[in-house]
C-alpha cells in the first residue's frame, strides 16, 4: 500500500470511484465494490461476472484485473448511486452485449452462457434484499410491494426457465429418470429461490425477540426513573426548605441505591438488617436527618430483634429531636453471642442529672423494651460531647454467616 506504484494505482482507482469492499465480500470484494460504486445490488454484479466468465473466461479476467488495480476500503463509505434510469440502461446494455456476442456465434458455448445468465440473474433478483427485509413484507399486501413482487416473480421465472433449459438439454434419459430429474430440478429451484429468505426470516425473528426484551427492560427502567427520580426532582424544585430538600434527595438516593445494588429480598426470611434499614429510612424521612448505617453480620428477625429495632428507633428519633446534630451514626454488629447496636450523635449531649422528665420517659421506653426481652440499654452523654445509646440483645440468631 505504500509503494509509489500502488499509490498511483490507488489514485487512478480513486478518480473512477472504484474500490473493493472489506466486509460482506465473496472473494476479494470486487463485485461488492462495483455494486456500491453504482448503487446496484451486489447480486447482479456477481451474476454479470459469472455470465461473462462463461465467455472465454472474460469475467474472471476482468475480476482479476480489478482485484489488482483497485484498493480495498472499509465499508460505510457513502455509496455513489446512479439513478434508476441509468441503472436500467446499464442492465439493458449488458444484456444486449451478451445477446449480440452470443447470437453472432462468437461464443464457444452460447447455450451455456444463456443458461448461466438466466439462472444467475434470476437468483440475484430473488436474493436482492435491498428493500425487502423479510418474506412477510413481500407477500403481505400493503407493504412496499410492487417492486418486490415483480422481483420475486421475475426471479422465479428466470430461475425455472434457466433450470428448464439446462434440463431440456439433457438428452436420452429414460422416462422415470426424466420425471425424477424434473422433481429434483423443481426442488432445487425452490430451495435456491426461498432458502435465503428462510434463513433471513429466522434471523429476523431472533433479532426481533432480542429487541423486544431490550425494549421491555428500557421501559421498566424508564418507568422506575419516572415514578421515583423524576418525581423527587420535581418535589425538590418546588421545595423552599433546604432541610427538606436534602432529606428528599437523601431518601431518593437510598431508594435508587437499593434498586441498583440491593440484594433481592428472600421470601419467608425477615432479616434484622432489613427491619433496621426500614426504621432508619423512616426516621431520615420524617425527621430530616442523615443517618449513617453500618452493619456487621446479620440475624433472622424474631421477637428480640423486633424489640431491638423498636428501641433503636426510639434512640434515633431522640437523637434527631434533641441532639441538634445533622448526622447520626447507627452501627449494628451481630455475632454468635448476640447483637450489639450503637446509636451515636455528635450533638450537644446532656447531663444525666438534669434530664427533663419527658426525656427520662423516653429513656425508660428504650431501656424497658430491651430489658423485657432480656437485653440491656446504656445511655452515655456529656454536655457538648454528644450522646451514645448502646443496646445489647444476647441470644439473637445469627444469619447469613460465612461458614
Amino acid at each position: 500500500m505504500t509503494s509509489p506504484d500502488s499509490r498511483a494505482r490507488n489514485d487512478w482507482a480513486r478518480r473512477l470511484g472504484l474500490f473493493r469492499r472489506r466486509q460482506r465480500r465473496g472473494i476479494a470484494g470486487v463485485a461488492g465494490g462495483l455494486a456500491d460504486r453504482f448503487g446496484v445490488n451486489d447480486g447482479y454484479v456477481r451474476a454479470a461476472f459469472v455470465t461473462t466468465a462463461t465467455i472465454w473466461g472474460i469475467g474472471v479476467l476482468i475480476y482479476a484485473a480489478l482485484w489488482q488495480l483497485t484498493f480495498d476500503i472499509e465499508d460505510d463509505r457513502p455509496v455513489r448511486t446512479i439513478d434508476s434510469r441509468q441503472r436500467l440502461g446499464l442492465g439493458v446494455a449488458f444484456a444486449a452485449a451478451v445477446w449480440i456476442v452470443a447470437g453472432a456465434g462468437l461464443v464457444p458455448n452460447a447455450f451455456g452462457t444463456l443458461v448461466v445468465a438466466t439462472i444467475s440473474f434470476g437468483l440475484a433478483a430473488l436474493w436482492d434484499r435491498s428493500d425487502s427485509p423479510s418474506l412477510a413484507r413481500v407477500i403481505l399486501p400493503g407493504s412496499r410491494g410492487a417492486l418486490s413482487v415483480f422481483r420475486l416473480v421475475g426471479g422465479l421465472i428466470l430461475v425455472f426457465a434457466g433450470l428448464g433449459l439446462l434440463f431440456s438439454s439433457v438428452g436420452a434419459v429414460s422416462e422415470i429418470g426424466f420425471s425424477l430429474l424434473a422433481v429434483a430440478v423443481t426442488i432445487a429451484g425452490l430451495f435456491l429461490a426461498f432458502g435465503p429468505w428462510m434463513v433471513r426470516l429466522a434471523q429476523d425473528l431472533g433479532r426481533e425477540r432480542r429487541e423486544r426484551v431490550r425494549q421491555e427492560e428500557r421501559a421498566e427502567v424508564a418507568a422506575h426513573l419516572h415514578d421515583s427520580v423524576l418525581q423527587t426532582l420535581t418535589l425538590i424544585q418546588r421545595s423552599e426548605d433546604p432541610r427538606k430538600m436534602a432529606s428528599l434527595a437523601r431518601s431518593q438516593e437510598r431508594e435508587l441505591r437499593t434498586w441498583l445494588y440491593g440484594r433481592a429480598p428472600v421470601p419467608g426470611e425477615d432479616l434484622l438488617s432489613t427491619a433496621l434499614e426500614a426504621a432508619v429510612a423512616r426516621v431520615e424521612d420524617e425527621r430530616h436527618v442523615a443517618i449513617d448505617f453500618v452493619l456487621v453480620g446479620d440475624a433472622t428477625l424474631d421477637e428480640r430483634g423486633r424489640a431491638l429495632v423498636g428501641a433503636a428507633n426510639e434512640a434515633m428519633i431522640n437523637a434527631a429531636q434533641h441532639s441538634g446534630a445533622g448526622r447520626i451514626s447507627v452501627y449494628l454488629e451481630v455475632d454468635q453471642e448476640g447483637a450489639e447496636l450503637w446509636v451515636t450523635d455528635q450533638g450537644k449531649g446532656f447531663a444525666k442529672a438534669r434530664v427533663p422528665s419527658d426525656r427520662r420517659g423516653l429513656a425508660d421506653s428504650i431501656t424497658g423494651r430491651m430489658v423485657r426481652h432480656g437485653g440491656t440499654a446504656a445511655i452515655e452523654s456529656e454536655p457538648g460531647e454528644g450522646t451514645e445509646v448502646h443496646l445489647t440483645m444476647p441470644g439473637i440468631k445469627q444469619a447469613g454467616v460465612a461458614s
Binding site: R257, L260, Y261, R263, A290, D292, V294, L295, V296, G297, R327, S329, Y331, E333, D335, Q336, W342, T344, Q346, E388, V401, A402
Partner: protein, 210 residues
Amino acid sequence: MTRLFLVDDHQLFLAGVKTELEGRADIVGVAADVDEAISSIRRTRPEVVLIDVHMPGGGGLAVLGAVTETNPEIKFLALSVSDAAEDVIAMIRAGARGYVTKTISADDLAEAIDRVKAGDAVFSPRLAGFVLDAFAGGLPAPADEELDQLTPREREVLRLIARGFAYKQVATRLSLSVKTVESHVSAVLRKLQLSSRHELARWATDRRIV
C-alpha cells in the same frame, strides 16, 4: 499544604471539590479521564491523588496501577459515590491508602488527605464495617495467622470508626494517642491489602460499602 491532584469524570463534582479544598490543599492538577490522569500525574508529581473509583476507560484502578509502576511514592485516596464493594476493595488491594465517600464534609476530606500524605490510612465507617465483617472471627484455621486476623485492639479501633468517631475521639475513648490509632488503622490496611483470605473477594461481591 499537600500537593494534591484530583481525578474525577464528573466535571461538576470536580469543580465542587476544587472550591471546597481551596486554601486547604495545593491543587496541582485535575483530570477527567484515565489517560489524561496518568500523564498529568506523572508530569506534576503530586503528593496525594484523590481518585474516583468508577470512570470510563478502566476506572481508578487503571490510573493507580500505571502511576504506581513509575512513581511508587505518590499516594492514592479513593473517593466514590455508589460503587460496588469489590471495586473499592480492588482499589485498596492495588495500593490505595484509604477510601472515603463523596458525602464526606470538606473538613474531614482535608484531614483525610493530610493523613494519607503522612502515610496513614483512612477508613470510612462503612469500610471499617466491611473489614470487621470480612475478618469476622471463628473461621477455620486461617492460612496466615498474622495477616488473616485482626488483633482485639484493631477490632476495637475499627468498631469505633464504624460508629462514626473521628481518630481523635477514638484515641480518647481507648486512652491511646492519635498516633497509635493511626498505626492500628495502617496495620489493618496492610492486612486488607495483603491478606489471602478468600472470603474478602466473596464478601466484596455481595456487599456494598458506600
